[in-house]
Symmetry: D2
Subunit: 492 residues, 4 copies
């Protein structure tokens, strides 16, 4: 069901609209008492991947499957003993989710994990990613008698499972996933098993950890292993399925052999800096991006200031490479949430000033380099520039820790339409003028590849990462979007 025009009583301030947004985080654990408590902690650590809502399903031998789905932060819902007591058992999975602002109303039925009762027992599924053929699948499934309960693409998976003739849950999951296209990291559970799958390209992350005697954990990021004291074991491979039961892990490759193309933007912005990928922390990678950026686009200045908070590691790297002092020239108000309910007109008009304030005494008279992670619409960059100039800065130079974001992502990231992406409309120089700064430079795509550890840069013949948002080269055809009229980049 769709919904009337979005209510005037909620207001997500513009600052939050000017970022790409990871749409989900997933977490699951098996083989521990009160598994749902661990899931709650894991989801709290993954909250940056989805701030709108969260859900947990748990299974207990006596009480069966139980679930709770809630809007709001994990910490406000899944820390309460009165709720957690309703989620007993030693296997549980959970999901946090970001809603796509404005496009539709938020309804509780859209919150994952989804659950299906099958003849061989119940199964819950949590999905991080996006299916690029979900519209077509949904039409087909409805034709065949499926009743959809949500507007979520991910619900297709459970309906495809229900129509599989396999006898085991894991085989049904594999059957279902062979029908879908797109990006997915799946965490699923049955009464006794924890199951993890990554799509053949491994676009979205998924890691395996161990906890206690015989417990295992699946998580979007390693930072969520840390919070529960789990030990990192390894990343799930692109195209791999793991089925964990009684302390044993069964690994298979349901999609045949494949070479991964991990999302490079996870390095730039989505993942938490204290998570590690490939043995190196995201913080270090971002620091390396800053170093690379200082080499590619040096500028003489007095201070290097991060745009809080995600620009900080790159700013430190830029400062250390350039020798220009690092300083916190912009302070972030730590009491900001994401939305306002029924806000006054004045609040609506405040925009970024509710969240950021310039350290005027520090900035006055200085030549300032601002390091930000990305430019999406560019509106925030303009406002920050205004604030910095208003504080008396002599020069303002933007350095961006990612290449120009010129193409939308269809693999589980909330991006504006292409015509809203500043870099799709303008050259770097035009952007500089539009933002109104003394200089504006993005890291090159090759520079970014070097920073993430590819010493020779991007292999254009066979790129090591998914970088469609920068390059327009989509490793999986976005078929639903193409049907709706999206124009791919012309072959060169």
């Amino acid at each position: 069901m769709s919904c009337p025009a979005p209510s005037k009583t909620h207001f997500a301030h513009p600052f939050d609209d000017d970022k790409l947004r990871e749409e989900c985080g997933v977490f699951g654990v098996v083989g521990v008492t009160d598994a749902a408590n661990f899931v709650a902690l894991g989801l709290h650590a993954l909250q940056h991947r989805g701030q709108e809502a969260g859900g947990i399903v748990a299974h207990d031998a006596e009480y069966g499957f139980n679930s709770a789905h809630r809007f709001g932060y994990v910490r406000d819902n899944f820390t309460k003993s009165s709720l957690m007591e309703t989620l007993p058992g030693d296997v549980a999975i959970g999901h946090v989710r970001y809603s796509t602002a404005g496009s539709k109303g938020a309804v509780i039925r859209d919150i994952q994990p989804f659950f299906g009762e099958f003849s061989m027992g119940g199964c819950a599924v949590a999905h991080n990613g996006n299916l690029t053929n979900a519209d077509a699948l949904r039409r087909e499934l409805i034709e065949r008698g499926a009743i959809f309960q949500s507007s979520s693409d991910s619900e297709c998976i459970i309906h495809l499972m229900a129509r599989s003739i396999q006898r085991k849950h894991a085989d049904r999951i594999a059957d279902a996933l062979r029908r879908v296209e797109g990006a997915f990291s799946i965490v699923a559970m049955t009464r006794t098993k924890l199951i993890g799958v990554r799509d053949p390209l491994g676009v979205r992350p998924l890691v395996l950890g161990r906890i206690g005697e015989k417990g295992y954990v699946l998580s979007s990021e390693t930072c969520a292993l840390d919070i529960i004291g789990a030990e990192f074991v390894r990343e799930i491979d692109p195209g791999e399925m793991v089925v964990i039961q009684d302390g044993k892990i069964d690994s298979s490759r349901p999609f045949g052999p494949s070479k991964g193309r991990f999302c490079i933007f996870e390095h730039v912005y989505f993942s938490r800096p204290d998570s590690a990928i490939g043995g190196r922390s995201i913080y270090e990678t971002r620091h390396a991006i800053g170093v690379e950026l200082a080499r590619e686009a040096p500028v003489d200045a007095d201070l290097v200031c991060p745009v809080p908070d995600s620009g900080t590691p790159a700013a430190i790297g830029f400062s250390q490479e350039s020798g220009i002092p690092f300083a916190l020239g912009i302070t972030r108000n730590q009491y900001m949430g994401r939305t306002f309910i029924e806000p006054t007109e004045q609040i609506r008009n405040m925009g970024v000033r509710l969240k950021l304030n310039v350290n005027r005494s520090l900035i006055r008279g200085k030549r300032v380099i601002l390091v930000d992670d990305s430019v999406v619409r560019g509106t925030t960059s303009r406002k920050i520039k205004d604030m910095i100039l208003d504080a008396g800065a002599k020069e303002v130079h933007f350095r961006i820790a990612s290449p120009p974001t010129a193409w939308p992502c269809f693999y589980g990231v909330d991006t504006p339409n292409r015509d809203k992406l500043l870099a799709a409309q303008m050259s770097e120089d035009e952007m500089r003028d539009w933002v109104g700064v003394d200089s504006l430079k993005f890291i090159s795509l090759n520079g970014l590849y070097r920073a993430v550890g590819e010493a020779d840069g991007r292999d254009n013949a066979c790129p090591q990462y998914c970088d469609a948002c920068f390059s327009g080269e989509y490793p999986i055809a976005p078929s639903d979007q193409i049907e709706k009229g999206f124009e791919m980049k012309a072959a060169e």
Copy 2:
């Protein structure tokens, strides 16, 4: 999904456990602006049929289908303009629901109407009644790939519809209902149609009303027509389906010819006294029951007092027939709700005294006849007797406006297991002694039939009503229950 033991933080006081409970009310309207507002008012008038939760689905040409499902009273949810604005359109249906206390946790997915997206467009269904073969159907549907979202039997209907090969919604509904057994009064809607169906026996009520130029209404009871100013047209016949569109009514008989057996307990207790059935108000029928009871079971006394509030019409009838003065000897606290959240120990122990108080000055030294509608477990009768004697009554005589309730209902009424029904365990005399009163008499089954207008009483060969709760004669075999071990009354 099932749930752990019911939370200690909620407490439905025992007084409420000692009644049979209608489980639902349904209401729908087509052909009026802001149809959902009318549905809200109708549901408010039907709140006695289901106090736990309510839901409304509406369709608007521009905004499509929208829905809201809420726990709590209609008046606390569906009167707010901020909610009602999200339910635009000129066709809408709604449902109120009573939860079966203690047996399972209340989850929002169980709240009706249910909605299904079909290839020919969406359809919402609200169901009053109970399907006696729902367990078997559910197993079969799951085997065939259905994903159930609720624990409600009624969800089978939407899945059966999804598997029908008919091209019209109404035909799919008929297909689906031909597969189910049990009692049902259905109100359904598509983008432009309002649809009503009653099962072949017409166990649960459903009436048709007209509003405005070309609007039509379907409702469980006539009292809900009154509140919106709709005019009563007629009752939907047992086994009839009506499809209403553009001010025209199309009637059909999808189940072949049938003779109705309306639930006689609707007369005794479920329906509101100001609703009319067969041209006579429920109030008048209950009054007639009291008259009949005074003839069948006279007793010399000083006062006739109703057990509030449902015993009042019968008590007036008893008083007028017997000449013994009618008086309000027991006062009901009008600020009682149904449940307490996290109550103190003292509240838990208060029981009926929270709700009822005896008028001590009035009762002292008097011989009192108490008229109640029914005896279920009998625990409340004992407590009321204690209160009356404690206030100094000289004699206490119970007169019950229904025959002994000795059998559970499987057609949409919440009844305890048979071993909890006092009348299944004891004779009338044993009940009198167990309750501890000077006399205790039930109206006879024939007397009840006479009171509802059957001058010759019950036609035992072919009973005019469903009276299974009194007679043990189930007009529809409760097949799920029999499979679970329920023993039907032995043939005589």
Copy 3:
């Protein structure tokens, strides 16, 4: 502090505006464990005297004084163990309150009991009634350095106590009350004492009960003794103060000798029918009013119907005296609360139909006598008449169980301004025509006095009751009001 225009988001429906409203109920207990639990139950029984808010103060030897003040029903707040655990101790008092609609915003600081910390220890005071010189007292007290925290007149009492030079709390209360004019029934508490006082005329009620070994209770009405199983001892006399400690009662007369003039409207409407005054239940008195009314204003008709719920006892009396059958022709929706939050336009316009419904089948073609307790603005009477005629009644006759309400009350009852009182503007015949009924008759003042037990009717030289709302004879000069321009009835 005052407040901007009342918010459009709340809506008390007009039906509730057309009644006089008792403004408060008080309750206190000493000498029992967990005294606050008893107070909560007592206030629940007194909820009809004040539905907007409630407060409880309790004292415990270890934890000292604690309090809770809440908007909403007692049952929604003071039944929760998490709240009640914060109110330990063996002495406690409480208050329920009705807000004067529209005139000012409701603020939590206005909820009683009020508390003052004095040099000899804390004291909490709950007040039922109204002080007629509160404005003047407040000005004087502010001049002398008092900081008022509420807009409540009752707060004057605590400030007057603070300025007394007496050493004992009870003496300070007496000092304070000798300065005030108006009507008051006070329940107060110190660390160990429960204190009760009635004004010299005893306008508002206050009764004493006993509970357990050495516990005592003070309550506005006897029905609140019943709910906690307390035994009625006696009424507190007009002008009496009782100080209860360690199971002993010390009685005194701080205002000198006086003859009481109890509010006669408590009999007509305010008190609960199961409360007793002077050994007779209110129900019986109202029944007697109906009998008297049938004698004074007989009319030939088919049915006597009460206007729910308060007209019921008088309607029964009218029926039994006249021989015309009693019937419930109007059904009250038991799921109505008092206010709506942010209601839709349609809800705003529904008025009385949200709450009452006519039993159409019963009423059609009948000559109907409607018995109501009072006529204030008359607007509801008109709407009920419309509903009855719309249902097809042949004749409608109103019989009112009180004399015409022509004067506002200044002693603790919420009455509209005089120009809003129908009886202040019109004769009985004019009212009949304005309401639009076949006849409309009020009981005479003498008839009312006879019904409450004064065989010779009203003693006009020295009236036995306060009947200012009918007679315009105010036993206590409303000095604040006179200063604001209120014109008393001219001496005859």
Copy 4:
């Protein structure tokens, strides 16, 4: 009134207990339309000074004084148009408040501003600081008839005003403040005036700003001027009172001449880094502290990491002075609030891990310098050390950006009792061993003075700042505390 033991349903995690806490922030504005909106924004910027509750009072010529007091963050309450519409007018003040954990229950009556109705009109007062003779004053005022409504010391001020015989509000405020001892920065308002006062020593901050044509602002810090676009004018002087009306400022010195002793801890921790004092930003001062610390206590290591977030500026300074690379080795979870409601056992036991996570890949094998702002109980330092070592650090060195906190503050800061202060019990070496790190060094008191701009360090004869928490030299005798047995430092 006091309260029973703090509820088990709330839980402020231990990490938050291990900091000193500023107890309040104040803000006021006059001469702008919808002044309360500006106050709300100002309080949002000052939220770090008091996170528990906030209040606003506004005055409008038509609607008079209105107020709102709420628990929770400013952004969750005072951004809603439905609330802000109830606070019209062109003068308003507000207050945010931190509650003293555990010692008493939070009650809404304790939330400031306090309001008094005086014969010359109402006055609202908001107080940042603490009165050291409040207990004695309260006893005296109660003896003289004052009724206290809160447990707040600040309420004394309004009662002292009520007893003043002055004709003007400002004179009454001066009268009242001459009676109090302790630290205070006051923002007050009448119908037309905004009033600001600082105690003779100017312990707590207060600054003046200008907005629009003729508007003026008073605020605890300059960062709150920035958010509303106000221009900084100057700091209010120690011992100065300003009365602002119609765009004119009247300055006076009600306490005679005095030399200020501003709280040095505002530099170290309380104030926001983007606020400026004496023309230099707090950020720069903290950076200078880090520089000083690197000189005083150098150590060979691989990384300098801040303990988030308050240690960051000093860590940057330390890194830049020492040449050891700065890195974010510890990540703070940005979705943490301060308290949990009814948390699970597991949440209770998580402690600091809910909030902080170590970047394991970065830290492994490194010698790490951790820079924190202060050590209070030391418990958090131990837990952070455990986390760092668990991540594989080779060495851990703590550097603390303030001297040892060995004495409680009585001037408006929430400090534990002296016996809970680690530095009151142990030497620096003992602390190092107790925390379990390779080295632990505090900046010297002279070093701190140099960093805040006193080139010659502390003037021991006449210290430039209040540093009682470090030195035990209390510039204002804490008389209430001494009466309760607090032992001052022996004179040397």
